[in-house]
Amino acid sequence: MTIRIIGSAVTPFGELWNKNLRELLSDAMLEAITNASLSPTDVEAIFVANKAAGNFENQHHLNALVSMMFPHYPPAMRVEAACASGSMAMIAAELALLSGRYKTVVVVGGEKMTDVSAQETTHILSGAADNATEIGSTFPALYALIAKSHMNTFGTTRDQVSAVAVKNHKHAMKNANAQFHKEITIEQVNQSQLIADPLRLLDCSPVSDGAAAVVLSTRFVKGSTKLLGFGHAQDSINLSDRSSLTTFRATEGAMQQALAQTGLTRQQLQAAEVHDCFTIAEILAIEDLGFFPKGEGGRATIENKTTVGGQIVINPSGGLKACGHPVGATGVKQIAFLNSYIQRGDAKAALAHNVGGSGATAVVHILQK
């Protein structure tokens, strides 16, 4: 049974003052359904990804909220796995389709983050860490420990880390929905405000509003992108119980599963949307996904091996850093973006990599024309 992406949509990402969460979810779903040449009543079930609407605006029960956007109130399920909520909702939808229960479903991910202060957002996002053993942590702090470890172990340099942000901002210039349309330099990243050393403001993905949706079906639709397979792996929620601070074992595991299920090789992938919540996260991702040897991700980036004309295009959308990171939307946006990317012929096969927390959850999807 083959799962196909028969429609997809991404809203603009950014500070969307005039849009609330339900409008974002509704906009994305309606556009995706329209792109699929379907009507709303063709949707048999909805899988909604969201990390923290309960904290941001005291709105739970999102499955009920999205279901009532359809005249026939289809069954709906909300899925949360911190920043991997989007890809986790994808997995829930895929398993439902593979079970034969449904033939056509919508996956929508969205987050409305900009109504609260930066400090409150820091607090809400820190909920993805272990609140028993990681008291006082912030996401920048956890990834700062990872960055320092990677720099100390492999000699990854400040400039190499900054090169990730520079590249992703450049890629975002061609993505109309991206939050930032502004190129930056290595010097600007290096001199931006210190958040948790060595990570600076421009090492960090922004706070964003936005949503994305895909329509998945097991019905044959000619020319549609195939969702070939996925991998899903876990590791400890806290850093202190990890076997390594410089490798996400969950990413390695998810990649192994995805390649095994699809039978593809890494060389057959032309692009990958990876989880660059922080610049160092992209460096780990491209190493742990096996595109570059461990410790070489920084050098590969600064040597332009991960942009157009290089070995593989990493984060053609601009990634979380430049496209934006409405947390629950990201995993779905990666799929939606790669669907469009493949449909317009920019790649034959591509990979989406979505991570929860400081590496405790990792999901890899492989798409192919």
Binding site: A118, Q119, E120, T122, H123, S126, T133, E134, I135, G136, S137, T138, P140, A141, L142, A144, L145, K148, S149, N152, Q193, L194, I195, A196, D197, P198, L199, N238, L239, S240, D241, L245
Partner: protein
């Protein structure tokens, strides 16, 4: 800090007070959650205690390097207003 959560957590303090370890890696947090804002900037430290690792906030505004010897001590871990229950917990301080 909520009273029931405080009461459950205070049973764990005795496990750590006085325990010594070595810093694996450390960072300085300059933007934190509101309940830790009064302590900014503070260190966030991964410590190797021999049989296990654990992450703790650094005491006061101390900064740490890899290899520093540290000891766990009772400190305030949350800052609230003058009506709230004071959140005590474990932080690490350098051992000389």
């Amino acid at each position: 800090m909520q009273p029931a959560r405080y009461w459950r957590d205070n049973k764990t303090w005795k496990v750590w007070v006085g325990k010594r370890g070595t810093v694996v890696v450390s960072t300085v947090v300059t933007v934190s959650s509101p309940e830790h804002a009064a302590f900014q900037p503070y260190s966030y430290v991964l410590v190797n205690f021999g049989t296990q690792q654990h992450e703790f906030m650094g005491s006061g505004h101390e900064t740490f390097q890899e290899g520093d010897k540290v000891e766990c001590a009772l400190r305030k871990i949350t800052s609230g207003d003058d009506r709230s229950l004071i959140g005590y917990g474990i932080k690490v301080k350098k051992v000389t």
